[in-house]
Symmetry: C2
Subunit: 218 residues, 2 copies
Amino acid sequence: MTRSEENYLKAIFHLGNGEPGPITTNAIAEQMETKPSSVTDMAKKLAEKGLVHYKKYQGISLTDSGTRTALSIIRKHRLWEVFLVKKLDFTWDEVHEVAEQLEHIKSEKLIDKIDALLDFPKYDPHGDPIPTKDGKFMERDKQLLSDMPINTQGVCVGVKDSSAPFLKFLDKNKIALGNTIKILDKEDFDQSLQILMEGKELRISHQIASNLYVKKND
Amino acid sequence: MTRSEENYLKAIFHLGNGEPGPITTNAIAEQMETKPSSVTDMAKKLAEKGLVHYKKYQGISLTDSGTRTALSIIRKHRLWEVFLVKKLDFTWDEVHEVAEQLEHIKSEKLIDKIDALLDFPKYDPHGDPIPTKDGKFMERDKQLLSDMPINTQGVCVGVKDSSAPFLKFLDKNKIALGNTIKILDKEDFDQSLQILMEGKELRISHQIASNLYVKKND
DNA sequence: ACCTATTTTTAGTTTTGTCTAAATTTTAAT
DNA sequence: ATTAAAATTTAGACAAAACTAAAAATAGGT
């Protein structure tokens, strides 16, 4: 399994997560920052290896085997992210780039030991669930902060956008996973929110609220 | 800097360490388990980049820049080895293969944090010195056990052969770095040694003794 | 100094993963 | 149902890193 093959499987998995049915060639090309013709080439190779279903012009989807492989890479990526934050004091906006490299290290023992060292974490620094060794995936019951009604509250458990700029913005405004957030008011005009968080009131834009996940509590 | 280029620089460094002067194409090919023609190709590319001195038929040697790069890779390799042993309970015969992959991870912050996590170790699990961030290399003052005279003693500080079979043999016979070894007798016939180690007497072959380093004390 | 054996390089090919440009298929709109 | 637009695939090319086979250079022995 080459690095490039692994990256394709990961991309297909991410694109397919949520939407059912096959993924388009163009969508994969965009995700991978490559050209559609390259995607077609890779689709054929992955189909040969039984990792994807592929019929010309009909899009691409992961086989069970492909899904297992993708999950194992995502597992590695997210465990390394936790390692970097918990053991090496990386900030959550720094981990992605390095984890993109570490996820391709081939050693089952290594990742199992990292898992144990971290005490078998269930979520990565962005709140995304870490697949288990056997590919089980527990997506958390969560909703976007922007979808919460006024006067309800919830615990911040994840980000939708995990780009460095967004994460840095959150740090600067002391918004962190685990914080309890209460919606005080919603502005009709621009849908910005007045919130109470850790004892302080602040106003956040819809853009921000629609990229923050909050635990759905009963 | 590609992975392959890094591996060539590392190989050239290891071959050049000890012997002065340029390294032969064949020697590199053997070390890298590749063909001489491939080495020639790479020599040209590395020369282009100012990492090696190369003149046709005249052998290859590292430039200062090439040496710095090689040392940084060796530094990463050895730090990862220490990490695997100290933090993840790998045995010293298991670490090389994984470190061969980890040494190519590109993140200065990562390796500096690993260094700090390990409390800035000076030697790797096989007793080899770890280059500092600025490429300083402190080779330990050591000698082969086979070169020690009778009735002298020393502390075991390294292995010359760090292959898995040899390391496993040492484990099985409870020979570990840090042990104090006293030469009781040397057999003229096969140059095998009678030694006293950790309170127990045992006999080891010349083959073994010539692959164990002992600290040169006074 | 010459000849041979060894070493090294060159030339041409392969594989992997990418690209561009052209051709083809599908989709969607009228 | 046609047709234009969009998406996808094919064909051909390229770069990296390896290979094989053949050519060239060096080194050693007499």
